[in-house]
C-alpha cells in the first residue's frame, strides 16, 4: 500500500512539473502566434554574402 502512496506522490509531482511548464509556455508567449511559425519553417534560410 505504501508503494501506492509513494507512486501517486511522484506522479502528481511530475504532473505538476508539466503544468508549470505549460503555464511558463503561455506566459512566454508561445501561443500568441500559431500561424507564422508553421509557415516560417518551410522557408529556406540561405545565407547571402551580400
Amino acid at each position: 500500500m505504501s508503494v501506492l502512496v509513494l507512486l501517486i506522490m511522484i506522479s502528481i509531482t511530475v504532473a505538476t512539473g508539466f503544468l508549470a511548464l505549460f503555464i511558463w509556455a503561455i506566459k512566454s508567449g508561445q501561443f500568441d502566434d500559431t500561424d507564422s511559425p508553421s509557415i516560417r519553417m518551410l522557408i529556406d534560410d540561405k545565407k547571402r554574402s551580400k
Binding site: T16, D32, S36, I39
Partner: protein, 799 residues
Amino acid sequence: MEGKISCFHCGDPCQTTDISYEDKWFCCMGCKTVYQILNEHGLCTYYNLNPGAGNKIKGIEPSKFDFLDSAEIQDKLLDFKSSDHQKITFNVPSIHCSSCIWLLENLPNIEPAIMSSKVNFGKKTLSLDFNPNKITLKQVAELLGKLGYTPLISLDTISPAQVASSKDVYIKIGVAGFCFGNIMLLSFPDYLGMEIEEELSSYFSYLSFVLSLPVLVYSSQDYFRSALLGIKTGFSNIDIPIALGIVALFVRSCYEVFTATGPGYFDSLSGLVFFLLIGKWVQGKAYDGLSFDRDYKSYFPLAVLKKQHDTYESTPVYKLRVEDLVLIRNAEIIPSDAILRSPVASIDYSFVTGEAIPVYTYQGDKIYAGGRLIGKSAVFEVTKAVSQSYLTQLWNDVDSMNRKKKGSSQSIIGKVSRYFTIAILTIALLSAVFWSFSDVRQAFLVFSAVLIVACPCALALASPFTLSATMNVFGENKFYLKNTHVIERLWKISTIVFDKTGTLTTNNQKEVGYNGTGLCEKDKTAIKSIVLNSSHPYSQAIYQYLNHADEKVPEPILFSEAHGRGVTGIVGERQIKLGTSGFAGVPPTQSIHHAEDGGKVYVSIDEEPKGYFNIQNNYRSGLKELVSKLSKTFRLGVISGDNESEKKLLQGIFPSARQILFRQKPDDKVDYVKSCQERGEKVLMLGDGLNDAAALRQSDVGVAVADDKAAFTPASDAIILGGQITSLDKFLRLAKSSRKIIIASIVISFLYNLIGLSFAIMGKLTPILAAILMPLSSISVVVFATMAVRMVSKLYKFN
C-alpha cells in the same frame, strides 16, 4: 499577347507593355521598383513562393511619414528605446501570404541597419529592431511603404491588459484540466466500485480536496465575481446558479470527506469548472487580424505641419490649439475644423459626406475636419481643437450614449437564468423542509444535492457553442463579427439601412458610357491626355474607360482646370473641352431631368460639340434579388451622402424601400437611425467610410463594408466583404435559426436537470451519478449545438 500578361510583382493584368525589366513585365513603376530592390538584394525567392505575391504599390506621398521624426510621437510608438537600439511593432494590414513573411523577415538583408524583424501572421504585425544611429524610424516606415507594406500607425494600439486577460483564460483552463484529470484518477476506485482499504481511500479523498482548491480559488474566480456583481446590481445572470452550484459542491464534498462519510464530488466540481471555462474560451475567440474599434483618430493624421515663427514644424495633432496655422499638403487630411487662409483649395469630403466630387473652397471658407486636400498645399487656421470638431463631437456623443445600451442588452440565457435561479432555490428549500421532518442531516444533504445537480453547466454551454459555431460559419463566408453578442442583436433586427457609395456600389469602378457623335482614335487619345492630368474622379473614370489600347499618351501643350466646371487643353492640333454643359459649350440633353445632370461630362473638340460621357457608379450585382428577398421581412432604407443623380436607378433596385434619402450629412444619418429606433425598430446599418461611422455606432448592429480584408474600416460590430452583401438575407436567416437552436439546447439541458433533480429530491444522488450526468449533459448539448448550426448552414447553402 496584350491584355494577357500579368504583372510579375502583384499579379494584376498589365495595362501596358511599356514597363518591363529584364524579361519581366510590370503593371506600374511601383511594382517594377520593388522588383528591382528585391533583385538587387537577391531576394527573388519571394516570387518563387507565391507567383504574383506582391502588393500593388500605391504611390505614397513623400511626406506621409514626416511625423515619425517627432520625438514625442516616437516615444509613444516605440516598444523599447536606447541610444543604439530601438524596437517597434507596426501594424501591417497587407500581410497576406508566406511570401510576405519571408520578405519581411529578410528585411535585414535589404537594410543592414535593421537588426531583426519578426512577423505575427495572425495579428498582422511586424516587430523590428533597428539601430537609430543608422536609420530613422521614418526611413524604416518609408522602406516598408516602398515594398508595398505600408504600416498603419495610430496612437491607440491594443492595451497590454487585453493580451494578458486572454492568456489568463488559457492558464485557468490548464489548471482546471490538470486538477480534473488527477482527481478523476483518484476517483477511479469509486467509479469501478472497488473495495479498497479505509486508509487508502481517505488518503485519496484528502488529496482530491487539496487538488480542488486551486480550481475553487483560482480557476473559478470569475464566476464568483460575476455572480456577486449580478446579485448587487439585481441583474440576474447565469453565473449566480453556477456559483451556487460550485459552492454547494465544495461544501458538500468537504463535509463528506471530513466526516469520512463519502468520497465527495471533487471530480464533478473540477470537471464543471473545466467545461465552463472551455465554453468561455470558445465564446471569446475573435478575429485578431481585424480591427473593430477604429475611431476617428485612426483616420486623422498623427501630426501636421504647424507654423512656428517662420517655419513649419511637425506637431502632434492633439497639441493643436485654436488659431494655430497649419500647412496641409496634397492628399493629407485636415485634422480639425478650420478656416482656409490660402486663396483657394480643393477638398475631397468623401470621408465626411460620401460625396465623391471635390469641393472648391476659397479664402475664409470654413473647412470641416476629415476633408482631404487635393492639389496644391494650403494653409489653414484651426478653429476648434481636434476633439471638438464636428465629426469627432458627433462620434463621441453617439458613443457615450450607446456604450451603456449595448453593454446591458440582456441575452436569452440571462432571461432564462432569472427564473431558473428562483426555481432551483425554491425546489431546494421545499425538499429540505420536507426532509427535515424526518432527518435534519438528510435535509442538508438533499438541499446541497439539488443545488449540485441543478448547476446549469449545459445551459451555460448552450449559448457560447451555438453562437460561436454560427460566427465561424459567418467567418468562413467572409462576414466577420466582433463577438458573439452581435448575433443575439441580429435576432431582433427589423429595419435595414444601406449607405450608397461603397456599400451598394463598388468603390473603385465606375460605369462609363459615351453618347454622341463618334470619336476617332486621335480624339480619344487627346481626351485621354487631358483627363490624365486631372485628379477629379470623373477624369479618372473616363481615362479608365478609354484606356484599352496600349499606347503612349502625348503631353498636352496647354492644360487648365476650371474649379468645379471642367478641364480644357490643347493636344496636338486639337482643343479639348470637358466638363459641364455650359463649360464645354454643349447644349444639355433634353430628355433627361436636370437632377440627373450630375453624372455627365460633356465634350467638345475645337469648339464643336461632340456629346457626353455618362458616368455612373457600378452597383454590386445581385442587389435586386437581395432586396426582393429582404423586403419580405424587413423595412429597408437607403441614405446617401451623394447627390440625387441616381435616384431613379435606386428606386428601380429598391421598389419597396421606405425612404431613399440623398445629401445626408453624417449627423443626418445618425438622426435617421435614431428616429427608426424611437419607433421601436431595431436597425441594421451597412456602411463604409468615416461618414457612416457615427450612424454605424448608433444602429443596433453596425456593419462595415470593405472590399478586401486589409481595407480600412470604421468602428463597427461586424465587417462584411463587399461581394458577400448579396448573401445578407442568408446571414440573417442563419442568425435567427441559431436562436431556435439555443432554445432547443436549453430544453435538452432542462431534461437532464429534471432527471438529476428527481434523484436529488429523493436523496439518491451519489457522486458517481453526478460524475456521469454532468459531463454527459454538457457534451450532448455541445455536440447538438455545433451539429445543428452546421446542418442549418448547409440547408441555407453556405459552404
